[in-house]
Symmetry: C2
Subunit: 158 residues, 2 copies
């Protein structure tokens, strides 16, 4: 899985701590010492996916496009990493003896189905967790984090 998923999730959490304000890619990158241009690419992907909204120009930047309760971890994973299953069925059976060249083995191959079934539970679990859940857990487990993060971004702004 793409490392950008980790960056994106943490960035979404951080944006929750700075509501109603656009944050530049540069500042989001500086928070974790990430390469700005590359993080920017992930933020663009989140924007295209409708998870973030962006504004150009001075005072511009990124912010959450909808409430964090409405952003599942799956939304973020799909936006950055794509919607493909980790197990990619290459229709190996097509090369086997007695293969039906017209058949779609991604559908009818039982190995493929079994792997896909597991993948579905993974996605279901990811879609059941939201950015808001993470934020709530952070606030409960590390009560200082929200304030510290807000302060860090406020200071860097000047």
């Amino acid at each position: 899985m793409n490392e950008g998923v980790e960056w994106a999730l943490h960035s979404c959490v951080n944006l929750c701590f700075i509501p109603g304000e656009a944050v530049t890619a540069k500042r989001l990158a500086a928070f974790y010492e990430l390469p700005t241009a590359y993080l920017n690419k992930q933020l663009q992907a989140l924007t295209r996916a409708g998870i973030l909204s962006s504004t150009s120009g001075p005072k511009g930047g990124f912010q959450l496009a909808r409430r964090p309760e409405k952003i599942s971890l799956l939304d973020v994973v799909v936006a950055i990493d794509g919607a493909d299953d980790a197990f990619r069925c290459t229709e190996i059976l097509k090369a086997g003896p007695g293969a039906d060249s017209k058949a779609d083995y991604r559908k009818i191959c039982l190995v493929s189905q079994a792997m896909h079934k597991a993948e579905l539970t993974y996605r279901r679990e990811l879609s059941g967790q939201t950015i808001a859940d993470i934020v709530a857990q952070v606030e409960q487990t590390y009560p200082d984090t929200a304030g510290n993060t807000r302060r860090w971004f406020a200071n860097l702004k000047s």
Copy 2:
């Protein structure tokens, strides 16, 4: 995920159709027109994991090391693809402000935990399905496959 997982799963299923007999890497590869040397590498990994047993020399080859009911899909995936989570926590928080350099963020980071939780459901689902399950489904859904496969390997042997 490594393409070898697909090859390994199908090869294990095929080995179920030819019980008590060692099958060479070459023949297993020929069945799906796979590169022999590379499939051999996956078979070796399965052997190291204790899923297959191998015998050298003429009449040698690979066979299941234990009954297919005792081989879960997770066993095969781990043998080929490794035990690492798809989501790899790079401990991004260590570079953030106020980080604890001694902390193991793979454990305490809530983003990491959330992703890992989903991964666990995936693995649980994979470990709940066995090669025997797949074989049973194949025999039910495609009744000719077992016989055809057996026959193909028998013919090629000569």
